[in-house]
Amino acid sequence: MNELLIKSRGVSKSYGRKTALDRVDLDVGRDRIVGLLGPNGSGKTTFIKLLCGLLQPNCGELAVNGQKIGPETKAQISYLPDRMYFADWMKATDLFDLFRDFYRDFDYDKALAMCRSLGVDPKDKLKSMSKGTKEKVQLVLVMARKAQLYLLDEPIAGVDPAARDFILQTILTNYNEEGTVLISTHLISDIEKVLDEVVFLKEGRVMLHNTVDNIRENEGKSVDALFREIFRAQPMEGGNF
C-alpha cells in the first residue's frame, strides 16, 4: 500500500488551444477528506476525469496508489460524475448487479439498505425516477463501495441547502475511512466543516494546498473567506460612466 494515494507530476491537459490543466504537481495522502476548490473553468473536473481515466493527460505523470491510471486504479476509485450515466432500460438493482460484478468492494446489502433509508425503491425503472431520485441512486452506487479513493465531482451543485446537508451526511456516514475523499465544488461554505485539506485550482494550476487547520491558523480566516479573497472577480476599470 502506497502512502501517497494521488501523485501528480507536471500533468497538463488542453482541449485544442484551451489549456485546462497546466503542469499540475500534487500529492494527496490517505485517510482524509480533500476539497478540490476553484471557480468554474479552473480545471477541477478535468483533474478528476484524468484520475478516473476518462481523459488522458497531454504530458506529465499521474498515479493512484502508486499505479499508472488503468483498470487496476479504476478498481480502487469510486467516481461520482456531474451527470447521470444510466442506461434507460435499467433498474437500480441492475446497476447494483453490475457494480457487484465489476467491483469487489461493492456491498450489495449496504446499497439496498441505503436505498431503504433514502426512500428509493431499487426495483423501479430508472427512466421513471425523478432527477433527485436518480441522483440518490448514483450516490448509493458510489458510497456502497469500500473504495480507496472517492472522486466526487460537484456532488452538491444544483440542489437546495437541505439536500446539500443530506448528501454530505450520506457521504460522511458511508465512506471508507481508510480511503480518501476528493470533493470538487465551488460551494465552499457548505462543505468547509467536513474538509481536512483543500486544494485551490486557478486557471489550471495549483495555487494552494494546505490543511484547513493550517489555513485558519496562519491566515486567521475561514477557507471560504480565503477563497473569496483569492478568486474575487476584478471589475473592469478605467471606464468613465
Binding site: Y15, L54, Q56, P71, K74, Y85, F86, A87, W89, F102
Partner: protein
C-alpha cells in the same frame, strides 16, 4: 471481464428485442392461418381467399415488423455504441476496471449477434408462414435422412461452417468500419456526426484503393485454385485484415484520445 460486459450488453439487447422477435414469429403464424386457411383455394398457383382484406392487412403488418426489425437492429448497433461508449453512459463504462478493447469487443459481439438472430428470426418466420404440414416438419425419418446424408458428405457441413464464418466476418467488418468512423468523427470538437459520416466514406475510398492493390497480386488468384474450400478461407482472411485494423484503431483511439460527448 469481457464475459461480464457481454452479460450486460446481452441484457440490453434482450430488453430492446424481447417484443419484436416474438412478434415477428407470432405474425408469421397468423399469416399462415389466414393465407393458407382450409377454405382458401389455390387456382393456377394463386391463392383465392374469402378473407382477402384481412390477409393483406396481416401480411402488411408482418412485412412491416420484419422491416422494423432490421431498421431497429441497425439503429440499435449505432445507438449502443454511441450512447454506451461516447454518451453519458460512457461515464459508467469507461470507469469500469476493464481494458478499452474489451468495451469495444463487447459491443461488436453484441452487434454481430443481433444481426445473426435477426436473420434467424426472419428465416424462421418465413418457414412458419409456409403451408407445411406439422406432421411433415416433425417427421423424424425425414430429418434422419438429412442427417444421414450430411454424415456421408461431411464436406457439406464444412462448407456450411465456412460460409457462416465468412458471413460472420463480413458482419464484423461492416460493424468495425462504422465504429472506427465514429471514433474518427469523435476526434473533432464540433460536427462529430457529420465528421463520422465523412470518415465512413473516407474509409470506403481507402478500402477500394487497397482492394485494387491486392487484386494485382497474382498469387491471390493462384490461391483460389487450392481446392474448393480455398475461396472461403481467402475471403475470411481478406476480411479479417481490415476488421482487425478497424478494431485496433477504434480501441487505440478510445484509449489514447478519448473524450466523451459532454466532456
Amino acid at each position: 471481464m469481457l464475459r461480464k460486459l457481454l452479460k450486460y450488453d446481452f441484457r440490453s439487447m434482450w430488453k430492446q428485442f424481447s417484443v419484436i422477435w416474438p412478434a415477428a414469429l407470432v405474425l408469421a403464424l397468423v399469416n399462415r392461418f389466414i393465407l393458407f386457411a382450409p377454405d382458401n383455394n389455390i387456382i393456377d398457383g394463386a391463392i383465392r381467399m374469402d378473407n382477402g382484406i384481412l390477409a393483406i392487412i396481416s401480411m402488411s403488418v408482418f412485412m412491416g415488423v420484419l422491416f422494423a426489425m432490421f431498421i431497429v437492429s441497425m439503429l440499435y448497433v449505432l445507438k449502443r455504441f454511441y450512447r454506451g461508449l461516447l454518451g453519458d453512459e460512457g461515464y459508467l463504462m469507461h470507469t469500469l476496471p476493464v481494458k478499452t478493447w474489451q468495451l469495444v469487443a463487447s459491443k461488436l459481439v453484441c452487434a454481430v449477434l443481433v444481426t445473426v438472430v435477426n436473420v434467424i428470426v426472419a428465416g424462421l418466420a418465413m418457414f412458419l408462414m409456409m403451408p407445411l404440414k406439422w406432421s411433415d416438419v416433425f417427421n423424424m425419418r425425414f430429418w434422419g435422412d438429412i442427417f444421414q446424408g450430411l454424415a456421408h458428405h461431411p464436406g457439406t457441413i464444412l462448407y456450411l461452417l465456412e460460409f457462416c464464418l465468412m458471413m460472420g466476418m463480413a458482419l464484423a467488418f461492416a460493424v468495425t468500419q462504422v465504429y472506427l468512423a465514429m471514433a474518427i468523427g469523435h476526434l473533432f470538437s464540433r460536427r462529430r456526426v457529420l465528421m463520422s459520416v465523412v470518415a465512413y466514406f473516407g474509409l470506403n475510398i481507402l478500402l477500394t484503393m487497397a482492394i485494387n492493390v491486392v487484386s494485382k497480386f497474382e498469387f491471390i488468384h493462384h490461391l483460389t485454385t487450392f481446392g474448393s474450400h480455398a475461396p472461403f478461407w481467402i475471403a475470411i482472411g481478406l476480411l479479417a485484415v481490415p476488421t482487425t485494423l478497424f478494431f485496433a484503431g477504434t480501441s487505440y483511439q478510445y484509449r489514447q484520445r478519448f473524450r466523451l460527448v459532454h466532456a
